[in-house]
Amino acid sequence: MRKQHIFIYFISILFTISVNSQEKIDTVKTKESYGIRIGLDISKPITSFLDNNTNGYEFVGDIRVFKNYYAAVELGFSNKTTIEDYLNFTTKGSYFKAGFNYNAYKNWKGMNNEIYIGLRYGLSFFNQTLNSYTPHVKGTYFIPNTLEPNTEFKDLTAQWIEIVFGMKVETFKNLYLGVSVSFNNMLNTKEPENFKNLYVPGFNRVFLNNAGVGFNYTLSYLIPIFKKEEK
């Protein structure tokens, strides 16, 4: 009696599997838009408004090259004053990033959302101004004065690579909301004399091991150029 139950159970499993495998492949064809998508990072004006020491903007753009591949660029400007315990400096400059995104998200028919992984090359041209510093001493026997040299270090450059993780959601027709985080690794920098590039536009804070993190929240619009039929 019990054996029979087990036997029926296995038969039923095999039956359902075979039924599923006989299901016909959906052959409905849809058209997908290809074009240029342009937008801006809306988190940067917000932080500029909330934080007096930060000022910046960033434009983003991408082009769908193949079904799941997008060529992407970011262009931006940043003016940021960093305050540390013994230092105060302002970094001012512009940056450019170029690379691609791979969309790993399988969309349902007619949807155009993305969960992507990407790679970028970043380049920045900037100036650093050392506003003030206080020499660091142990103890409090002689308390050093804060000096204000206002030294400007001009024509500095930095190059780096980024791994980007993000997603884009089509909220209205051709209007996308996107969010992404990037993990940056510095390739090379032109360092100021007797100072260090502790902040680089586009790269953000430069950590000790030359790593950095970035974040953006974008609003972009797709300008459709042509439609391609997808299977």
Partner: protein
Amino acid sequence: MKKNYVIIFIFLFTFLSCEKDDICVETTTPNLIIKFYDNDDSTAIKQITGLTVWADSKDSIYVDKSLDSISIPLNLNENFTKYIVESNNIKDTIKFTYNRNDIFVSRSCGYKTIFENFQIESNTSNWIKNISIINSTIDNEKAAHIYIFH
């Protein structure tokens, strides 16, 4: 494929959380290190008894100690520091002069000051017999910068 992303994410977060540049751990502005030697035998270290040390118009750093070397800070706001070194109630005044040079260390430490062209402009000789400068650049605390013979 999605599992791989999760692994990469975790890896990168742990990698970044290892940062330790918020706390100043590097060596910064050095102190002046003075070692005391015997005037009769210039290779023999000779302890000082009843030693009290203070900078001009400041509190004492050492009070009634018996030591063979001292470590004292230099004034970073001036190009000179005047110290009074007292041994068994006998006072001697030494005036050090130097040029200050600020060197960048790190984000958390900022700048340190090193002292170059270090000289003794003047000193009284009540118990001090002789002073010799071993290193005229004070940029570390690894060895004594001046010897005082008594």
